[in-house]
């Protein structure tokens, strides 16, 4: 550590920019959550905890959380398994396999909302290519976006398509930065491919894995645009995630006070969940490695 009276020059511009842009919205949301502000009466009155009581009785909110949980759990675990497998297949031959690595990075660069538009045409029941290919393979066609389960699967498929690349590239970077010595030791001990992975690679990757999974869980829980374009939360409310439900209440129905209360409850639950997940992951992965 160095001491300098100029040190505030480094930190303060960014800190105050962020505070200026983000603190007002957060404080304001908090204040709004105690008001009855809606499309009829845009007033900043004080109605106590009425909105919060309503959130706790709103089954649609809790169902949207359950949907979100299902989506996040399935996409993050599947993306992690596929991403890790692909990274393991491609990290050793630097010069060859370049084509595959570039191709596998591209999806995370594609604008989510735009690629969802393309996927929507692909899921089209009569004119889309997916059902067409299923027919060619003599398999039954799927009513992709019009049945609850298949619509949810469609959302999950698009997310996996897009974000496996993110986990792939971070795990690839992690694998590429691993030291060589443990591998030489493992080779001398005559360890086979699987043993080397399980006793050398996996434990060494544990710390970076925790970071990647937490980032991915945070980003995956924001899922909204895919839902908006692909299914609009439907059929019914079957693919409605929390962010999408809050979006409906706030920007579609202008129940500003109520949606602010939902936002606060949602944020608190997210922080709680993330702390538990971080603790669980650290215990599960690091203790195994140690």
């Amino acid at each position: 550590m160095i001491e300098s009276r100029h040190k505030y020059l480094f930190l303060f511009p960014a800190l105050f920019t962020l505070i200026a842009i983000i603190i007002f919205p957060l404080v304001y949301t908090f204040r709004l959550s105690f008001s009855s502000w809606d499309v009829v009466q845009p007033t900043l009155d004080f109605i106590g905890f009425d909105n919060y009581v309503r959130v706790f009785n709103d089954m649609r909110f809790w169902e949207s959380l359950a949907t979100l949980g299902t989506v996040v759990l399935s996409v993050v675990s599947i993306e992690y398994i596929i991403g890790f497998a692909l990274a393991l297949l491609l990290w050793q031959d630097i010069e060859r396999n370049r084509f595959f690595r570039v191709l596998f990075i591209i999806p995370m660069m594609a604008t989510p909302v735009i690629i969802s538009v393309v996927w929507r045409t692909m899921f089209h029941e009569s004119l889309g290519p997916i059902n067409d290919l299923l027919t060619m393979a003599h398999l039954p066609t799927v009513p992709w976006l019009s049945k609850p389960t298949s619509a949810l699967i469609a959302v999950i498929i698009v997310d996996i398509w897009q974000w496996t690349s993110f986990i792939f590239i971070l795990l690839l970077a992690g694998l590429l930065s691993l030291p060589h010595e443990p591998y030489e030791a493992a080779a001398m001990d005559g360890a086979n491919r699987f043993q080397t992975f399980w006793h050398v690679t996996f434990p060494m990757m544990a710390p970076i894995t925790i970071g990647i999974l937490i980032i991915r869980i945070i980003e995956a829980s924001k899922i909204m645009e895919t839902v908006y374009v692909l299914t609009s939360g439907g059929p019914g409310t079957s693919t409605e995630t929390s962010a999408y439900y809050i979006f409906i209440r706030s920007l579609r129905e202008f129940q500003i006070g109520y949606s602010a209360a939902m936002s606060i409850v949602y944020l608190l639950l997210m922080i709680l969940a993330l702390m538990l997940i971080a603790k669980g992951l650290t215990r599960g992965l690091v203790s195994k490695g140690g």
């Binding site: 304001y28 538009v117 004119l127 962010a243």
Partner: protein, 281 residues
Amino acid sequence: MRILVYKGIKYLVLILWSAFVAGPFLWALSTSFKDDAAVVSGATYIPFVDFEPSLDGWKVLFSATEGVNILGPFISSLVVTLVSSLVSLALGTLAAYGLSRFTFRAGPLGNTDITFFFISQRIITPVVLAIPYFLLLKMFRLLDTHVGLILIYIAMLLPIVVWIMVDFFNNISTELDEAALIDGCTPVEAFYKIILPECTPGLVVTGLLCFIFAWNDFFFAFTLTFADTQLLPVSIVALNSSKVPWWSLSSSSLIAILPLVFLAIWLERFLTRGALLGPLK
């Protein structure tokens, strides 16, 4: 024999995943050359064989009369993305260096708490901020302007920059700074003359991530701009509304995604070259 089986499985997996990844792009490419008749007759794939190709999907993007004109939104997106990325990168890198090198105290809070404050902003779902941002920008008369969006994007990108760059600076030895200070540099000079050149790889990767996040944002552009300022994702999704012209939808999607494909090629080079140098250090 076993090595052959392994190779076979390996390339089978790689080719299957390639097909899955490339699928939407190939479909969009094929669809962009279709016209109404080719789309409504069911799924077709190969031009000339399956359907008679037409250039309408591409022409419509650049004609002012048909109303899709993609050039304006493309430039808007580029300007907003570049400015917000550069500003965030500059401010965030300074803050990250400060947090990595100096001790800050604010009551019981220290450096790690300040770093966590930056990072924790990522947890906030955009939809939570939409209404307050709307009112905030309205108050300053910045609704539906480039400047307004740039400000919002800076708030979105700063946490990412600080997050990655703190880690980067922590991996660079403080001995470098100390040597510079002994040589008579001020701390500010030590930062930009000695340390900054050391972390070019970090700056590049971070800048790239900023670019991707800003370029790909739909939600804020969607809620905070309406008429005067239109970014690319919003104008493309607008096509998705009533009667969907699949062909221009596909061609405009491809144009929006193209710049990032070049970034992917570059990022891969960068990643693997860094790794090649790694053992030599």
